[in-house]
Symmetry: C2
Subunit: 338 residues, 2 copies
């Protein structure tokens, strides 16, 4: 009685429901095209905390508490907390887990973490190991720039292919039953290396992994782009978006194009917010877009079925300094409103 | 049909079998009390690679390939690779995942990662999502010292309460059926903060989490220490070992004492290897001890049932520099030979 489909995918026998979600963002994201769709937009990137790391932690905690409050559920009723972020040793997630006091499983998939959490949370529920799981992730422009590239105070110029790490956090509550969109299928990605070494062009690095997982999800499930209202990648930006389209299987390419969007292009208006360069990135990019506008469109029936593809660049400053490429990964889930 | 037991534990309806395992270690570990029990002991900590990070990566890959070779299984037959390590952005695990080309889910639980991998791997199998999962983790004294404390070249003196990060890696293969010990139960830990701020005394920081999870595992399962031949914590060393005993529930304390050991005390001989100070630590500490000597003792019937408790200190150099405490976590599994 295996639930496996094809090489890398599986279905959920009793698809877990995303019964609640929350997305909180920084001021730049709050002023973008999705203005008004988020649960909270902080006035400053410091969220009134005394370090950017503490601000990021505040955001992931706020997202979790807001998501739980919407369903009047205290943290002590939640059975597992699956979370991760981009900071070394995922400290944002860990300190949130300390505060929430929910049994915690730390995950790391770089910017694919939101989807990894939804996959493993759904596995726990569908496998019979629990009825209520909280999945969350966060990222922050200032903490990410300092850790991965240069502190902002240095005033380093960005190239046009650069992306802007989304400041914010997203949280979703998975349950057996209840009202909301359900997670029906998942595809676990393989790590793919196309010899990209430019940490300032992550979209290009991630595109082959995104395309590979989209191709694989459709193949394993025996579906085509026609089965979806929306195919949404996490944080490829304009460069990665175009490259992903090129890398798709020829049989899917033209059908997908009409359905395909990227969270990194939805969250900012590149015309009026030129500082974001080629678009958004970071764990919070897919999380804040999915848990706000997309979730609302699913709830109101404007979207019936989507494929959400979390994309992550698997590198550290140390691996780059030692001359390594940037291998990437992408995980996909099918989410539908029944 | 929930598999939950008590507040934080669950059982596996068809307990997954650990059908193969491998442990590889550095020269210090290879010369310790478990000499000859490991699958490989490298002559140098560099494992003939040109950086310590690459050496660690070599070790985790070697452990995976050896574990798979023992059951004549090529990587392409494995459905999921669950792995993590202590390096920023878990790059050892990620580059191993690239090489192995197995669908990858990155995990991070600091030194509890070995047990987190066995829990989630067993969840995937028992939930019907696959039949063959590889779980692995690694740590390396030189990469860990450089990242968390000081590069060894500085010659910084260690305090007697310090522990020595184990250089090595462990891998286990989980399957539905087959010969070997089975994972019957799991307890997912909560993050616990006892206001420890000393990164040179991790055993003390982790002890409360270890005791909490041991207490919880026994309570949730309705068991006592009499039900186990061995209760084994991951990497507490001599200081954490004594503190854990003190923190156990009074009703369990005396019974547990006779059964209780710590991998950090088993892997080194502190009398003849005084440089390890209070004992071993790191992801590889529990992994290399469990996947070598303990696994062999289970296979030969010398141990019938054990509780393995992975212990992890959840901090980063940044969180310490910003004055945060070191919150900790512990996950437990029951493993038995039937």
């Amino acid at each position: 009685m295996t639930k496996k489909l094809g090489m890398q995918s599986f279905y959920f026998a009793a698809p877990p429901t995303i019964v609640s979600s929350a997305a909180v963002v920084g001021p730049l994201e709050g002023a973008g095209p999705l203005k008004g769709k988020f649960d909270k937009a902080y006035e400053g990137v410091d969220a009134d905390e005394d370090s950017y790391e503490k601000a990021e932690r505040r955001m992931i905690m706020d997202a979790c508490y807001i998501a739980l409050k919407k369903i009047n559920t205290p943290p002590e009723n939640v059975e597992y907390f699956l979370a991760g972020d981009l900071l070394n040793q995922i400290i944002s997630a860990e300190f949130a887990a300390l505060q929430l006091a929910i049994p915690f499983l730390g995950i790391y998939g770089a910017c694919s973490t939101a989807v990894e959490g939804l996959i493993l949370g759904s596995v726990l529920i569908d496998g019979g190991f629990g009825n209520l799981v909280l999945a969350a992730c966060s990222s922050h422009y200032n903490t990410a720039e300092r850790q991965y590239r240069f502190p902002n105070e240095y005033g380093t110029q960005h190239k046009p292919v650069c992306q802007h790490t989304v400041t914010g956090a997203g949280a979703g509550v998975l349950a057996t039953g209840g009202l909301g969109p359900v997670v029906t299928h998942a595809t676990v990605g393989k790590v793919i290396d196309m010899a990209c070494t430019d940490a300032l062009n992550m979209g290009a690095a991630m595109a082959p992994a995104a395309a590979d997982t989209i191709n694989r999800h459709l193949l394993d499930l025996g579906r085509t782009a026609d089965d979806y209202d929306l195919i949404l990648t996490g944080d490829l930006g304009s460069v990665g978006y175009e490259l992903t389209l090129q890398e798709l299987k020829d049989t899917y390419k033209s059908d997908i194009k009409a359905k395909y969007q990227d969270c990194g292009l939805l969250i900012y208006d590149r015309a009026t917010q030129p500082e974001v360069m080629s678009g958004g990135s970071g764990c919070a990019c897919s999380a804040t877009v999915f848990y706000s506008d997309i979730y609302q469109r699913l709830m109101t029936g404007k979207l019936k079925r989507i494929m959400l593809v979390g994309t992550g660049a698997l590198m550290s400053p140390t691996s780059l300094q030692q001359g390594e490429n940037i291998p990437c990964i992408a995980h996909a889930i099918s989410v539908e409103m029944r």
